[in-house]
Amino acid sequence: MTFTLRARNMLTGAAAIAVAALALAGCAAPPAAQTDFTGWDQVTAAAQGQTVRLWMYGGDEQANSYVDNTLTPAAAKEGVTLQRVPVADTKDALNRVLTEVQAGTREGGVDLVWVNGDNFGTGKQAGAWWCGWTPMLPNMKLTAPSDPLLANDFGTPVEGCEAPWSKAQFSFAYNSATVTDPPKTLAGLLDWARTHPGRFTYPAPPDFTGSVFTRQVLYSVSGGYTNVPLGFDRASFDRLTPALFDTLTGLAPSLWREGKTYPKTSGELNALFAGGQVDFTMTYGPATLTKLVADGTYPAATKVLTLDEGTVGNASFLAIPSTSGHQAGAMVVANLALSPEQQAAKADPRVWGQFPVLDPAALSAPQRAMFDALPPSPVVPAYDVLSKSANPELSAAWVPELDEAWRRQILTGR
């Protein structure tokens, strides 16, 4: 009797598990929602009263206060409620959208994502983004269609799947009180690190900043970015990366803590720099340096290092997930973020200091005057100085490959 009972229970359990597994396996990704707007007026009408949740990296205080105090009130005037959702890493937002795509959600929790690079490329592959909407934005006319930074995002064609928001330039900052002989090239920077043991380090990839540092070193050891194919192929990877990893392995003993460990995030590296434990830090958002020096977080003598061969530059974008139910509201916010007023407010170093994506030639004289009136920063050179001979970003496919190889060879090899 007990046996039959147990057998029946087991059968019921097995059946339940089978049903659940079938139900789970049945959640195939739906096609991206097709919303047909015929004109911009229709979009603004549909956007009235919508709430747009903007998921963005929350570790940048100036970014948070710009969105909360400048962009959100402006969106409210257009009839859209903007809510900022801070995430520790943009990957978290992408993961949320990918999970929603898997579940077939049509009214997802993410309406807008501040994104670029491999997150954009991965999402595009998986159908996470709504595409083809940016030509509808009136303010897209103020950007240069030929601008390579806006046409391709880390080698992934943008194809109207995201609207440009800011430009960024990878930069090194150093304490000029302790670094009396600042290097002029990346090779010189590595030499400086070798002659000053323990005073330099970089965040461990896959941290965004550590990852771009390894690409910058790859350009340097390959004799310039022109020698590295932007598209990923295994043969080039195998040909070019041994020099990179030999260099970084040789550099390791001269790094902070003899290179036995690395800061896990750019935030940890910044803390080391602020605490005087290293003399260099690096950032993809040099605009934040002005405020960090002004409030005493960073040494007063902090300066930006300009390299002869230039550094990697990119643009960051706003993308609308295919699972969002508030596409009209999200489009209104993306268009607003592109307006000359918002771009100029965002470019003010006292606000956020992000470099604008607009084409000066497409602006009217009063609009240009707004940008000309911005105060210069005592720490950060102007964008045209910083972005001189800017290096392009490698295609997104390079990023996980380099990060993984770095883990295998540098981190686990010691």
Binding site: A20, A21, A25, Q102, N119, Q125, K264, P400
Partner: protein, 269 residues
């Protein structure tokens, strides 16, 4: 009476486990068609020994430290003198702090340019507690937080029945050490075993403390699982689910071993 609670809990637990299992076996791919494969497990296999070993080491060290400190604190509390009340108050205050707040505080206290390093003026001589090779800050945080939990559980078990036995033993001439050995330890053993198991399973599967205060390599299982989960390649999710399944299996193993141990304790029966 308990049916609704069990139903809710098993829905959450089983649902999560089934989803993770299905993902790890390739049945829920982000791109492409579902097919049953063990590829995710073979892909993470080379990293598993180091990750499992490190997670077990951190969890064991934290559990032993938390149990010893917690049991000692419980003995002080049961004595009921004023210092017992102080210890009880401190333990009760420790519990509601979220782990991430505790970890951040421990970081600010123990890091290289942290508060203690500055107060002592140690500078370069300060030991590498945060992000160092021995994971000291991580273990310290777990030991501190979890010892309060152990202390409260064990005190709850002792306070109801220890007094009578303790006084009887004292009247029969047992000294303090013998009373602890023959009365307090046997009485608190079931509660201590259960709470230590909870601490072990929790620290084994916990992410934020190890991530905040640890180093990038080697990685504990949960940290590795979340890193792989967030990786930008579409193939990584099954691998993250496989790591989560391995974490679950080891935790279940620890819980099973603890129950086998409990069955041998006379009081538990």
């Amino acid at each position: 009476m308990t049916a609704p609670a069990v139903l809710m809990a098993s829905f959450v637990v089983l649902g999560g486990l089934l989803t993770a299992a299905a993902q790890s076996l390739g049945l829920l791919p982000l791109a492409g068609s579902p097919s049953l494969t063990l590829g995710a497990y073979t892909a993470v296999a080379p990293d598993l020994p180091a990750a499992i070993g490190l997670s077990l080491a951190i969890a064991s060290a934290s559990t032993i430290a938390a149990s010893v400190v917690g049991f000692t604190a419980a003995l002080v509390m049961v004595q009921g003198r004023w210092c017992g009340r102080v210890v009880a108050a401190v333990s009760t205050l420790t519990i509601p702090f979220p782990h991430i707040v505790g970890a951040a505080s421990v970081g600010l206290l123990l890091s290289d340019s942290g508060l203690l390093s500055r107060l002592t003026g140690a500078g370069e001589a300060w030991p590498r507690l945060v992000g160092g090779p021995w994971w000291i800050a991580v273990i310290a945080d777990y030991s501190w937080k979890e010892s309060a939990f152990v202390a409260l559980v064990v005190t709850g078990a002792l306070i109801t029945r220890s007094t009578g036995y303790d006084e009887t033993a004292a009247l029969l001439g047992a000294g303090r050490i013998r009373r602890i050995r023959h009365v307090l330890v046997p009485l608190s053993l079931p509660a201590l075993t259960v709470s230590a198991t909870i601490v072990f399973v929790y620290t084994f599967g916990s992410y934020e403390v190890a991530w905040l205060l640890g180093r990038p390599y080697p990685e504990p299982l949960p940290v590795m699982a979340l890193r792989v989960f967030g990786s930008a390649s579409l193939t990584s999710r099954p691998e993250a689910a496989a790591l989560a399944m391995v974490t679950t299996i080891v935790s279940f193993g620890a819980a099973t071993a603890a129950f086998a141990l409990l069955r041998r304790i006379p009081l538990w029966r």
